[in-house]
Amino acid sequence: MSRKELLSKIGLRQDGRRAEELRRIRCKLGVFTQPDGSAYLEQGLTKVLAAVYGPHQVRGGRSKAQHDAAIINCQFSMAVFSTGERKKRPRGDRKSTEISIHLHQALLAAVKVELYPWSQIDVYVEVLHADGGVFPACVNAATLALIDAGIPLKEYVCACTASLANNNVAMVDISNQEETLGGPVLTVVALPMSAKIVHMEMSQRFHLDHLPKVLNLALQGCKDIKAILDDVVRQHVKDIGSSTGWSQTNRKQ
């Protein structure tokens, strides 16, 4: 009967967050042994796995290889059970292909491809649960997997969504429930340290007047995510280091 409000009078969203709060993000590096780098990331209920293979020799025809840079090969795939309604197939549909291309674009901006001429880097992401903000979660997970693989990056590349509640208030990190309740969703991929926008996409049209505040909040979201990822990476390196005896060497010096 009544439509739910994206943002209640008291400023809380359907799930209890405030407009400018991210969902809980949890992540882990090195979850698999076979890939050169891998990561698992949860953003709210959205769950994504990323694996990186490479840099290695260009697979298939050598014609694709570039003499001055590595090529990045991305594949986005969703488990058929990842959505509320079961998907017919995990990849190959237009949406997945599009996301693969966007992911490629996003990573190209961050990876120092010029270091690996004639090579290829494979980035595979697999969505286990889609609950809004799938693409941003993929970008964030891929970043972690690249770091885990030890591939030099210019800086973290982070992505985040933002939307407009009650036609007025910007809110960040949109869940699936909020997506279906309506409102335009703006997806931004950014290099948060240099505050550059790598990729931007809007799901519906909305008025130009609203763009600055929504964009700013999305960028702020990217910065916040970067801080979270950075913590996890540092902790991970510390853990690995201590298991290989790093910390002791440090202490000796």
Binding site: V31, A50, A51, N73, V80, Y124, E126
Partner: protein
């Protein structure tokens, strides 16, 4: 991963000596890790890790119309997805052949009514039934996929809750049904007789179970048997190579024995684990 001749010989000798590369005997499994209820929005799910073979299974439920031949039975469908995360070879449609092969083996393993009774999934004869979609996602391949998949599938089905049907109304040609929206009011299926599969690989002159990825490359022939309560539900030979009838008999016997033990162990684990509260997948 390609092995050189020396490596292969090393593996072969190990099997001959009943002392495999990782220290196991020929009829020994690698350690396994099993979790259930890992995919919150599926009606049942499980994740099984066998050494570095990693399988995630989720069960989704839809309503469907029973087939004309079996008007009082529900349906079950298996779908395997080989994620490129496991190996770049699976990229695009690279894993489809393997996926179809595994899915088909599961379909035939579950076809027997004794192994899996579909009549429980019928809601209204000839008009409405549940259809279970068992979706298998291969996240990492470390050998012995069939065994790992079959165990994970059985665990996921064990974990599956079927929504409780409150009322079924026939409205002309339309079947209207009401279902309890409380997740705690669900119905469980009888999964005890569901089959588990055992792969037996012939390496040199010996048969081994649970071959690792490297061992699979040395195998001259492999056979997969599906065992349900001390009976075979399906037997299939996988890969290239041929078997002598006597070897076949021998491996069937081994398969049955191992399969029953494996099944027992699994059920024990599932029983003692009343779906402990999961915090998050992989965390």
């Amino acid at each position: 991963m390609n092995l050189c001749e020396a490596e292969k010989t090393f593996i072969l000798h190990g099997v001959e000596e009943n002392f495999r590369v990782d220290g196991r005997e020929r009829s020994q499994y690698r350690p396994m890790e099993l979790e259930t209820n890992v995919v919150a929005h599926a009606f049942g799910s499980s994740r099984l890790r066998l050494a570095n073979t990693d399988v995630l299974v989720a069960v989704k439920i839809e309503t469907d119309v029973p087939s004309v031949d079996q008007p009082d039975e529900g349906k079950i469908e298996f779908f395997v997805d080989c994620s490129a995360n496991a190996t770049p070879d699976f990229e695009g449609r690279g894993g489809e052949e393997l996926a179809t092969e595994i899915a088909n083996s599961l379909t035939s393993a579950y076809r027997s009514t004794k192994a899996f009774n579909l009549s429980k999934l019928c809601i209204l004869k000839g008009r409405k039934c549940w259809k279970l979609y068992v979706d298998i996602l291969l996240l990492e391949c470390g050998g012995n996929l069939y065994d790992a998949v079959s165990l994970a599938v059985k665990a996921a089905l064990w974990n599956t809750d079927i929504p409780r049907v409150l009322a079924v109304n026939l409205d002309g040609n339309n079947v209207e049904m009401e279902v309890s929206d409380n997740i705690h009011e669900c119905v469980k299926l009888d999964i005890v007789p569901a089959p588990v599969m055992v792969t037996i690989s012939k390496i040199g002159e010996q048969c081994v179970v649970d071959p690792s990825a490297a061992e699979e490359q040395c195998a001259t022939a492999s056979m997969v048997v599906a065992v349900s309560q001390d009976r075979f539900t399906t037997v299939l030979q996988s890969g290239s190579g041929s078997l002598h009838p006597s070897t076949l008999r021998e491996s069937l016997k081994l398969g049955l024995e191992i399969g029953s033990k494996l099944d027992q162990a699994l059920i024990e684990v599932l029983k003692q684990k009343p779906a402990k509260k999961q915090i998050g997948f992989l965390m």
